[in-house]
Amino acid sequence: MNVTNDSPNDEACARTREQLSAIADGELSTSAEIARHVERCAECAEFAAQCAVLSSSFAPLRELDPPPHVAAHVWTRIEERLAHGRTVPPRTRHAWRARIGSALAGMAASIALAFTAERLCDARSNAVRGEAERALNVLARVARDGDDLRSLDARPERQLVRAHLARTEKTR
């Protein structure tokens, strides 16, 4: 492969593309060397064209302003947090969604809890009973905290609950 400065190769192409990108931003002037490279390298020529297209495609994103009610809400929260200290969480709509999500996860865990309790009553062997009791404790904690099963920190706990629920599903 030819490795002169203005001939296409990985290194020359990488450098030329940095320059083409800067030219598209008006941060660099073009040069004879760049022009020669682009003339010989179809990929870099295509990149130069793409830079211009990409830049114009960002135009709609530049127009984004937060909706007035959001801007006002954010400032209200800033004032509240200044008054009550940084320990107060942001509590945006996102946080409310998370709470609803947690509540739904808690409900799901409660349903699983009911099935597990039923299974516990039917358990005949001590091994199955022990597993069911441990799974029941984990699920009770998840339901109490309104948490999601995915948030369980310990992998054995997750595996225990999964294995137990899978077995419960099979025998139902």
Partner: protein
């Protein structure tokens, strides 16, 4: 005399003195731009709302540390981008430590969800989704350049990196974005693979 500069100097002095109305004025002048940066670096409107709160609270707490060697807007952008990058890193670590392989499919971050980019009808949404698939360091420079219109020098100052690094990251970001647009499936694949190159 530059009246804008004088007005900014006065605003900074009031911020340093702990004047909440000065913070409100700063939010009124710069809030929308900071929201945009957070929105596109984080890829989520809800996270951006939280981030804007944090940024302006930090501005108020750290106003005394602002030496005035850069413009107020550059300092605000620096706090915003650093906050967003730290937030994304914390989220990445949190997910990596809490989830095993079987759960990643359920709870992978928004930026790696395998959505059908080619099927998106709205070009703005499509561009947003592709932007979210870039590595964070590439996304940050692209947002500051293409959305905020910052010069390379300002971006370098905002991110505390050399101008040459701004130039190379922008070129890499554009190459990736152009490749994603040409081959939408590559976008999802590269982000799933966690490609992070300078």
């Amino acid at each position: 005399m530059d009246p804008d500069r004088d007005s900014e100097h006065e605003l900074v002095e009031r911020l340093r003195a702990g004047d909440v109305r000065a913070l409100e004025e700063t939010y009124r002048r710069h809030g929308a731009r900071i929201y945009r940066v957070c929105r596109y670096v984080l890829g989520s409107a809800a996270d951006a709302e939280d981030a804007v709160q944090e940024v302006f609270l930090k501005v108020f707490e750290r106003a005394r540390q602002f030496e005035g060697t850069s413009r107020l807007s550059t300092w605000l952008h620096r706090i915003a981008v650093n906050h967003c990058l730290n937030f994304l890193e914390r989220e990445r670590v949190r997910r990596a430590t809490r989830l095993d392989d079987g759960e990643n499919e359920l709870a992978c971050p928004r930026s790696t969800l395998p959505i059908d980019v080619a099927g998106a009808t709205e070009s703005k949404q499509r561009l947003e989704s592709l932007l979210a698939r870039l590595p964070t360091e590439h996304r940050s420079v692209l947002v500051l350049r293409e959305i905020e219109g910052q010069s390379y020098r300002d971006i370098a100052e905002t991110l505390s990196i050399p101008v040459g690094t701004v130039m190379s990251r922008l070129a890499r970001a554009r190459e990736k974005l152009a490749r994603f647009i040409g081959r939408p499936r590559a976008a999802a694949q590269e982000s799933v693979n966690g490609e992070h190159k300078p």
